[in-house]
Symmetry: C2
Subunit: 288 residues, 2 copies
């Protein structure tokens, strides 16, 4: 297929993801997509890239790559309490096995898109020596109600969803959209765990101008044992769970664990059982 044929095929597939009242006036096929916002809503925007050999291995099932490319962004929408509306997908890949790869990639991506009400409205396609994709997602949230990183206050309770340290580089991430939406008007701050608890908690505390005392971490049962397992949970990344704070006395949301308390202190300073827990999660440019 040439580029025109691929775009025609995607148009048909994408139309199947359209939800009624989605606000999409025009999807794939013009210079831009056209979106009509609803009154009283703020819009959320996030983007995330995946590169062969950096974020995933060449042999990964393309349907999983497609799922993950969208899911990582939906996790950011979840962290702000948003409801996904649409996405744009940029893809570069080699010519060999291209048509089959593209079909499987979009099958994985569009399946999650349909399930979460995210319409594919545009993108860009190019040839390159390895696979690289970029997804941008727009979500919506009631005006002024988005969950942010910067609202945590001393005394707030610190929570995390799920169990940490699974190191899911290869699996299908399930973005915590319902949990995020349920935290609107309740959580004082929220962030998604993509780079590891120690780094993402540092970011939340730094943005809020507070410190945190962690006293327990819900560790996933995994392949590694003992200290290695705890290290994965603290610094491993790829959890895509939500880390959030609730005012003192608020009830614990289902499927979450209280892991500590927000305290006064140097912004970003975090302790685990009283000892300093420096940020050590994934940073693309840190010297290792």
């Amino acid at each position: 297929m040439d580029e025109l044929a691929i775009v025609e095929k995607l148009k048909t597939l994408a139309r199947a993801t359209r939800a009624s009242g989605s606000g999409i006036v025009l999807g794939i096929g013009d210079d831009c997509a056209i979106f009509r916002p609803r009154p009283g809503e703020d819009l959320l925007f996030t983007t995330d890239q995946m590169i062969e050999g950096v974020h995933f291995e060449a042999g990964q099932d393309p349907a999983i790559t497609g799922h993950r490319a969208l899911a990582r962004n939906l996790s950011d929408i979840a962290a702000m309490g948003g409801e996904p509306r649409f996405c744009l997908v940029t893809l570069a890949l080699p010519a060999r096995g291209r048509d089959q790869w593209i079909q499987a990639f979009y099958r994985g991506l569009l399946r999650l898109a349909r399930r979460t009400g995210t319409e594919l409205v545009g993108g860009d396609l190019a040839r390159d020596d390895k696979i690289r994709c970029d997804v941008m997602v727009c979500g919506a949230v009631a005006r002024g109600k988005a969950l942010r990183r910067d609202g945590a206050r001393p005394g707030d309770a610190l929570y995390v969803s799920g169990r940490l340290g699974r190191l899911r580089w290869n699996g299908r991430i399930q973005p915590r959209l319902s949990l995020g939406q349920s935290l609107i008007g309740r959580a004082t701050a929220c962030i998604d765990l993509s780079d590891g608890l120690s780094l993402d908690l540092y970011r939340l505390c730094k943005a809020s101008g507070v410190a945190a005392a962690v006293d327990r971490v819900p560790v996933a049962s995994g392949a590694t044992i003992g200290q290695a397992r705890l290290d994965d949970a603290l610094h491993g990344g790829e959890d895509y769970e939500l880390l959030f704070t609730l005012p003192p006395g608020a009830p614990k949301p289902r499927g979450t664990t209280r892991i500590g308390t927000i305290v006064r202190g140097i912004p970003g300073a975090v302790t685990l059982e009283g000892r300093p827990l420096p940020p050590r999660g994934y940073d693309h440019f840190r010297k290792r």
Copy 2:
């Protein structure tokens, strides 16, 4: 600089691009950017990638790369008659010379961003073996008024801005934002010339279900001569001029040339001085 330091620096630089009343509630630094739409506006979304060795050469001045990465998207916003609002930028690059490259890239990008009222609100950064960047731009247009590809009707006059065939792979593109905005309510269809007149005119005609008869093309004075020069103007790409249609009798906008007429016929069929002009512009996946 590590990733945290780079993001901090970008935050400061990006804030300088913020226009009053831009609608940006929260820019770089959280899981998502927050944007508050104005009532009565539709939003436009487009994305475009640039890859070292595919879209530009390794030795290109990074300030030009940054300018072009944004300008190519602004050209799409111009083609729909939009006013740019904000952008997200995804960047992957090798470690060597990284800090200097990033600074020059953003200097070029943010200079054009400031000039066009486009705020940088987010992005993503990764390490890779060569430079790749992706820009997503959001623009705004009065509700229901966006210029589209699909409104050309037989009898409409066909126009193009500027002169074609310069093959500006290396220079600073000037997106035709003012012209696009001035065509709102006047042009019946519009597209930007990124892949060459023959391919982009084919796309416009195909979307509108019409054919076109071209009788002249404004060729830029360039390095090549004679037939080669005309070929560049017809199929060369990288013009980033606007191609649009006006109802019969409408006055010619300044700085534009009438190149032909929309006619009844097989959708997408284009003739030049009576002879068929097949689409031959840039297609990443066409066999050559």
